[in-house]
Amino acid sequence: MTGMLDGLRVLDLAGELLTYAGRMFADLGADVILVEPRGGSPARRVPPVVPGRGGGVSAHFAFMAAGKRSIEVDCGQPRGRDVFDRLVGLSDVALVHDDVDRHRGEGIDFASLQALNDRLVVACVSAFGASGPRRHWHGSDLVAWAASSSALQMGDADRPPIAPGGNLADTAGALNAAMGTMLALRARRRTGRGQEVDVSQQEAVMSVAMEAGPIHSLEGAVQKRTGPRRTGAWGLFPVKDGMVEIVPALAPQWDALAAWMAEALGVEEIASETFRGSTLDRMPYDELIQAWTMDLCSRYTKQEFFLEAQRRHIPCGPVNNAADLLEDPQLDAVGAWVDVQHPDVGSVRLPRGPVRFDGEATTVGAVPGVGEHTDDVLRSVLGMGDDEIEALRTWGAVGSG
């Protein structure tokens, strides 16, 4: 089966903050063209950077750029700008991820792009969205966690709030942009026109934290930092070589855990009627249950505990780090990793997307070098011949490829 989005052309203009949206479209089979300035996109230097030759290799770029074609073009000069404008005219989607105003002067905003192509869908993720009094504010992953009211309840009570590492908030914004883009494309079938897709990263984080968010607080939940989350036998517990998270949310799941503790610790009473029922019912015995759970956990490694808990149908997971994931038997068995070409390091292992269509997984393509596909794009999309391309190159409007 070919890709779900075969025939869709996406221009990735996301600059330094390349997002997961473009990567998703590439995985789904769209022709995603990364437009880079002469010398390469600043995204190629975005942390995390792994030390190596030439200032190191950006893991961010490798992950986000996989499967895209790269064209190196100088939009600051008229002939380069003409190439860019013609690409816009022949594309379905433009992805912009930036402050609302930053690119307006360069004509890379909704109004200017749509003037070139009224069927174009323009998706822009910004810190606070394209309207409202704070639309000019700048943002980042951490700023989104802070502004969304989530960070205040993350961390330890005796220290400042924190936010998750990785790029969860950026991903939440990118996924909303991808969703909005798909919806705009479906609407285009009827309206014949593209539109603007405006994503606020502040709202994106609020919309992935709804069950612990402000509306829940209105019914009396209290926002506080509590350290490792732990209530009775529910939460994060230390094991021999790290931690596990146990979530015995349903009554049979508690019963199974209690039976295990009774067996392993010789404390018959834990399986008694006193402790049965819901987590709320067990609150008066919180400390006792925590102590028993700690004792049980201390006898296992995280992998041992995880597998034994799951054998007993108790929801549980080891607290994995990125290295653990690369060794995980499930991910290996489902083919979750793909080795793709990388211009600087030969090959790199990347995680595949989570979706299969009719049993077939999505693809992951190579990481492009700067302007690697310049000629290819000029020929296949704009229909240029060798002479025309050579002339553009002589003028410095496009890179050497």
Partner: protein, 464 residues
């Protein structure tokens, strides 16, 4: 004459058998962008979010009322219709098959084992409707050694490497208090369904979508995993600091438990920060002039920044930094965002008509489509609110429906005349200027003050 309003999915009927967040939030997205989403609900195995919250209700409230009052369902299920239907017996299975025959999409989040047991597998349902797009969002997909493992959002965050990245370097990780992977799967799932529908628009063929939530969560920390795959260090939690960025952190501001987040992402932002009144000395300090220098002296840098933030409210600090182009924001409380003028201008919070509450509060969408924005017309349904409508849509007569209800196969709303009122309705209209229903209770200043104190309402100005 204005054109009739187009919604991207207004020609689709979607069936949801959803629990918790992943499938329900995916279907909420489909519903708000136009699909007629029918939530198929069992009284024996109800959606767990139907009863989350509601602690204010008298303890002897019957479950048949309580299940309409869980506040979480209010944001996982707006715009949907609810049919109460037990699909396991012959009569229920037959009704469900009639629904499938005229549906465009079926979304579920169950283990593969449960899907098979209930006869909901793709091959079986495709025979009824070859145009069906069928998506199950199992935690681990449909194969591999973990395929039957049990999960909730919490342990999936641990497994997928997210929990490890939340905490301080000298302490155990603390994890996140949200089911992050569920929401990510919901968004990915929405993209996948719309892609499959667009393919069907062209080919006429439905398809099966398998969505593995575990892999969706890992994609969210893609660069972190790639760092290790490239031979780099294994990343661990770093508080609010980030590799390769300085300053980058959460700093104390004036007041109790008030903080401001500041992130300098490039040289231009650093130069902007050095222009801020009171921070000019940073520019004069040669130790901080390069990123390498700032990273090497992060403690000293954070101390200098913290001395400045401590003398201001978090709003003053963020305002002054943003004016010079620095990415910064107050660490807001739930209270702050509820009364935030920016979110109000974007209409992020919504009050929608509700069967049980007359109207109820929910969140809007984080994505705004300029020509075909989401619809916000009705709150989450009461349990079985649309049972009769949905069954009559597929040809059941009133007598047949009465029989299904009498046999306990179908369920309808209990005590439909009983109107409930959320306790916050007596004071929230004074804080959030939305279209609230009239409260039967007078706004009590005492209650207001007590809640305001609990939410740690800021005393300082509110930057815009």
């Amino acid at each position: 004459v204005p054109e009739p309003r187009v919604l991207p999915l207004d020609d689709l009927v979607v069936l949801e058998i959803g629990y918790g967040v992943a499938a329900p939030v995916c279907c909420r997205n489909l519903a708000e962008f136009g699909a007629d989403v029918v939530k198929v609900e069992s009284a024996r195995r109800p959606d767990s979010l139907r009863t989350l919250g509601g602690g204010w209700m008298p303890p002897n409230t019957p479950w048949a009322i309580k299940r309409d009052a869980g506040i979480a369902l209010g944001f996982t299920c707006p715009e949907k219709r609810s049919i109460g239907l037990e699909i396991e017996g012959d009569a229920g299975a037959s009704a469900f098959r009639r629904l499938v025959a005229r549906a465009d999409v079926l979304v579920m989040n169950m283990s593969v084992d449960a899907v098979e047991e209930l006869g909901l597998g793709y091959q079986e349902l495709r025979a009824l409707n070859p145009r069906l797009v069928h998506m199950n969002m199992a935690a681990f997909g449909s194969d591999g050694p973990y395929r039957s493992f049990r999960t909730w959002g919490g342990n999936l965050s641990a497994l997928s490497g997210i929990t490890e990245l939340v905490g301080w370097p000298d302490r155990d990780p603390v994890g996140i208090p949200i089911s992050f992977s569920d929401y990510i799967a919901a968004l990915w799932g929405t993209v996948a369904v719309v892609a499959a529908i667009m393919r069907r628009d062209a080919t006429g063929q439905g398809c099966e979508i398998g969505m593995a939530q575990y892999q969706a969560a890992i994609a969210c920390i893609g660069p972190t995993v790639t760092q290790v795959a490239l031979g780099g260090d294994v990343p661990h939690a770093t508080g609010a600091r980030r590799a390769g960025r300085a300053p980058h952190g959460i700093y104390p501001s004036r007041g109790d438990d008030r903080w401001v987040a500041i992130t300098v992402l490039d040289d231009a932002m650093w130069e902007g920060m050095c222009r801020v009144r009171g921070l000019e000395s940073l520019a004069a300090d040669p130790r901080f002039s390069s990123l390498a220098g700032r990273l090497a002296r992060e403690d000293a840098l954070d101390e200098a920044v913290g001395a400045w933030t401590r003398a201001r409210t978090e709003w003053e600090a963020a305002d002054e930094l943003q004016r010079e182009g620095v990415a910064a924001a107050p660490v807001t409380s739930h209270w702050d965002v509820l009364k935030d003028p920016h979110l109000a201008a974007r209409e992020f919070f919504r009050v929608l008509p509700s069967q049980r509450f007359r109207s109820d509060l929910t969140y809007g969408q984080a994505v705004v489509l300029s020509a075909t924005p989401a619809r916000f017309t009705r709150a989450a349904p009461s349990f079985g609110q649309h049972t009769r409508d949905v069954l009559s849509d597929v040809g059941y007569t009133d007598t047949e429906i009465d029989a299904l209800v009498a046999d306990g196969v179908a369920h309808v709303v209990q005590e439909p005349e009983l109107g409930l009122e959320r306790p916050f309705l007596s004071w929230i209209p004074h804080v959030m200027p939305l279209d609230w229903p009239p409260s039967r209770v007078d706004a009590a200043q005492i209650v207001f003050d007590e809640l305001a104190a609990r939410f740690n309402a800021p005393t300082g100005g509110h930057g815009a």
